[in-house]
């Protein structure tokens, strides 16, 4: 049976960088990967453009900047011989923001997550679910000494309050809303296989947390949602650093040039760590 995957996520969550690194990995064959390139469809200009930026240690252009590119890569499992297609729809992260904020989505997305499609959902380690309450913020500010007048009433609001707008919804709530939407029409309510890809993993690697632990600590609402809805979302959690280094760190770039580009990739899964970006896809194929 042939498997299909779809890559989705909020803006700047690392989807395009992942695709650039994945394309390089399977196209170059310079590092061992569980899945290998089988064939491809459509125009390669987009894939080559993002992979070029990735290889040259440049910031990979975002989907919203390079535009229309419904990309499909066919992969084959070296072990089982199974075939799979990775579908990267022409849906910039802003489309998923709009889904939460304006409560409408693109029909391609509805079709893209049809039966038998595994989902790669990207969240960035750079954007956590934490938001401060007014009380928490006040607790962090230096205490005003008693009897010292600042010339303003403590109860006075020195500047106008912001009115609520959907753009203020925190990232973890947005992702829970995206997943919740999959349970109701126009989506077909059924069990789905989902990999949560925590991108920019190099930023949090030193915390010593496993990806699952990081998610529980930094996006607790999403973690609780996944845990309590395992009947709907059969999921696994990975940390990925497709870029592999800080693009502003010239010494890190200099060191990286002495090895194969594929070695820059870091992917941390349940009980494993390596360079094989296809391992989450192999997991999705194994649970089809």
């Amino acid at each position: 049976m042939e498997a299909n995957f779809i890559i989705i996520g909020l803006p700047a969550s690392g989807k395009t960088t992942f695709l650039a690194a994945l394309w390089h990995l399977v196209e170059s064959g310079e590092a061992e990967s569980r899945l290998q390139l089988d064939s491809y469809e459509g125009d390669l200009a987009y894939l080559n453009k993002i992979a070029e930026a990735w290889r040259n240690f440049q910031k990979v252009p975002r989907t919203s900047q390079v535009g229309d590119a419904n990309v499909s890569i066919r992969l084959a499992d070296r072990v089982t011989g199974g075939k799979a297609t990775v579908f990267f729809p022409d849906l910039a992260g802003e489309t998923f923001d709009a889904q939460v904020e304006t409560r409408q989505c693109r029909p391609e997305f509805v079709h893209g997550v049809a039966k038998g499609v595994g989902i790669l959902l990207f969240v960035s380690a750079d954007v956590t679910g934490h938001h401060l309450s007014v009380v928490e913020l006040n607790g962090l500010l230096p205490k005003q000494e008693e009897g010292v007048s600042t010339g303003t009433d403590q109860n006075e609001q020195p500047f106008p309050r912001s009115e609520w707008e959907p753009k203020f919804v925190p990232a973890q709530v947005r992702i829970v809303q995206l997943l919740s939407d999959l349970l109701r029409p126009p989506f077909e309510a059924r069990r789905r296989n989902v990999v949560i890809m925590i991108s920019a993993w190099d930023l949090v690697k030193n915390t010593g947390l496993a990806p699952k632990e990081w998610l529980a600590a930094n996006m607790p609402l999403l973690y609780q949602f996944l845990r309590s809805n395992c009947a709907w979302f059969n999921h696994e959690i990975y940390g990925v650093s497709a870029q592999g280094l800080d693009l502003n760190d010239s010494s890190a770039i200099h060191s990286a040039t002495s090895t194969d580009a594929s070695r820059r990739i870091l992917i941390v899964g349940p009980g494993s760590e390596g360079h094989d970006l296809t391992s989450p896809l192999a997991w999705l194929m194994s649970v089809e």
């Binding site: 309450s133 912001s162 959907p166 973890q172 609402l221 609780q224 395992c230």
Partner: protein
């Protein structure tokens, strides 16, 4: 009133940053998704056709902390599991977000606030589904949200009590006593009279189902004085005692809780007292008690044949 515009101009999305080069690109097609704000009565009905949910009616006059109670529950789950349960689902995520916003630093407020619920909004609901943290058994809650003026109206005109549908359907009716007014000696007696009158109006009218639990929940307990100036606490203890004595036996349970959902001074942990209150709401949805139908004597041969087949 603006002048009519040609169709192509009327469809321009003012929020979309479009360049001149995109002018010829046909607008993308979109598929509408269900709203994710507060649930209307129709939305709540729709939810109940999908799955069982326990209805919690939060009842009290304005500024008592009804909305804050619900939003601070949600805020707990944004930070992790709470009250031995984990967040499972909400059809009103954006409703929670909207009502919570003025308590967040992003609102630029110097003090936490909750937007007032307008009488024009009528009856709405928060939906919150949680699962037991061990066995993941899920419970859905519909938490009512109605302006306090409607309950004041019932206090003044008890004959209207049956018109408030959330009370009749509720598994739990939570009467709110405003701790801020209780703490103020000049307003204390009136605060107590308010909750007493409203509870009496609904219970005497038969609006509260006998299978329901009635609760007296004192909010803003961070404002209650302690020590020698504890007249408010004495008055509260006496009221709680009378509440339980009056309603035990008439309803499935009569309970009291004291909470400080959100201390603006930050001296008390957020969500103080909310965990036992939430636990009390997590019970199987109420089913109205129905007498089993009385069957006439079954004496003819067809009836006997039917009975034999059943046996």
């Amino acid at each position: 009133m603006t002048a009519a515009q040609p169709d192509d101009e009327a469809d321009v999305d003012v929020f979309e940053e479009t360049g001149a080069s995109e002018a010829s690109i046909p607008p993308p097609r979109w598929v509408a998704l269900p709203p994710a704000g507060m649930l209307s009565i129709a939305d709540a009905d729709s939810l109940l056709r999908w799955r069982e949910a326990s209805l919690v009616a939060i009842v009290g006059e304005r500024n008592g902390g009804k909305t804050t109670l619900a939003t601070e529950l949600y805020e707990r789950f944004l930070r992790g599991p709470f009250a031995e349960v984990v967040f499972s689902h909400s059809l009103s995520l954006l409703g929670f977000e909207q009502k919570s916003f003025q308590s967040r630093a992003e609102s630029r407020g110097t003090k936490p606030d909750t937007p007032r619920t307008s009488t024009q909004d009528g009856l709405n609901f928060f939906h919150l589904a949680v699962s037991d943290q061990d066995d993941l058994q899920r419970t859905d809650l519909l938490i009512s949200e109605r302006a306090g003026e409607a309950y004041r109206e019932v206090r003044d005109r008890p004959a209207m009590a049956m018109e408030l549908v959330e009370i009749r359907k509720a598994s739990t009716v939570t009467f709110i006593l405003d701790g801020e007014r209780l703490a103020d000696g000049r307003r204390r007696a009136e605060a107590i009279a308010s909750v007493r009158n409203i509870a009496r109006a609904f219970t005497d009218a038969g609006a509260v189902a006998p299978e329901a639990e009635v609760q007296l929940v004192t909010t803003k307990c961070d404002l209650l004085p302690t020590g020698s100036a504890a007249a408010a606490l004495d008055a509260l203890a006496a009221l709680e005692q009378r509440f339980v004595a009056s309603y035990s036996g008439r309803f499935a349970a009569a309970t009291t809780f004291r909470i400080a959902a959100r201390d603006p001074e930050g001296k008390i942990e957020p969500g103080e007292g909310l965990a036992p209150l939430l636990r009390s709401w997590l019970k199987p949805p109420m089913r109205p008690h129905l007498e089993p139908p009385r069957l006439p004597p079954l004496i003819d041969e067809f009836d006997r044949l039917l009975l034999r087949r059943r046996n």
